[in-house]
Amino acid sequence: MSLWPRSFVLSCGVPLFGAVVSVSLAIGGEIPLSERMSGYDFMSRGTQAMQDDDSANPAMLSVLDGEALWNAADGATSKSCADCHGDARLSMKGVAARYPAIDRAGSRPVDIATRVNICRAEQQKANPLPLEGKKLLAISSYIGLQSRGMPIGVAIDEGTRPFLQSGREMFFQRQGQLNLSCAQCHDDNWGQKLSGAPIPQGHPTGYPLYRLEWQSLGSIQRRLRNCLIGMRAEPYPYGAQEYVVLELYLMWRARGMKMESPAVRP
């Protein structure tokens, strides 16, 4: 496998100084935009039907919990999410499609779950909800639902570019005892089988999502943890910046694809 995507090699006719800074990001992924497929497209018809029907999608049970939490007062200020943000169906429309986003205070990318906890600390004066816990996943899924059908589009600017670049490096970095990179499966071998299951392209279109294997809702961090354990690398703890940076790159890689949150996956 060549170190650089084919499109990059072909574009080397253009002055290289531009390439170093932006072109490496601007062309990036090895999968041509027109050939990208959601994990949905690799699922059986039965599992697709589960996602298509909101009364069969178990993630919608968490969405109901999330809606209740959105409207529930919490913390020392006794404020609810709705007190500031109003109707989530309007105020949260498209939000999940552009996350992770740079946090104004910390100048680092944060995902939806961390964003909720920042709001809890600053506005509600409430304790942070445990990462990967039922409540935080429920709120995240309720926020995610408001972006369903909308195109993914994380910000590409001075703020995100260094993080996109390091996320991209992580994606191509071989790691673990099996010495695998994300790209080796999800760029080079998507559509092939791994232990009898199809290898998807790895586009995070539907998080948080209900995985039948987990029998519960989970975030992209849980999914990435799975992958890391699979390549026998040591997984990062939940909330680690590495996950967020990788998620940022994956969202960029999936730019323009439609949000499916909360999705169902096998």
Binding site: D53, S55, P58, L61, L212, Q215
Partner: protein
């Protein structure tokens, strides 16, 4: 509190076969798994689901520990009269949840 989702057509023609879909949040812990310290996780499942249509039982399912979390149960019935469909799930540790849906039959 257990969350449930019920999908029943709001109205149906008399004699029409209508599909009823139910989904409820429940861990369905089978009682054979162990936690990280090796202790058995006690069984916690839904054991029985019953649907009544204007008071008359039209569907019953006995659930076993092999059934996955958040059981999805779909079945069909013939629309006979306007009224109420009631759903009841009961299980271990005193678990009980009920839902009801109104239906108009023309």
């Amino acid at each position: 509190m257990a969350r449930a989702l019920i999908n029943v057509p709001a109205s149906a023609k008399r004699g029409e076969v209508m599909e009823i879909k139910t989904l409820i949040s429940h861990p369905m812990e089978p009682g054979y798994r162990t936690n990280s310290t090796g202790e058995i996780l006690p069984r916690d499942t839904i054991n029985l689901f019953v649907c009544t249509y204007n008071g008359e039982e039209i569907f019953r399912a006995e659930l076993s520990p092999a059934i996955a979390a958040n059981p999805f149960i779909a079945f069909s019935t013939v629309a006979t009269a306007s009224g109420k469909l009631e759903f009841k799930w009961t299980g271990d540790n005193g678990f009980s949840a009920t839902e009801s849906v109104a239906i108009t039959v023309e």
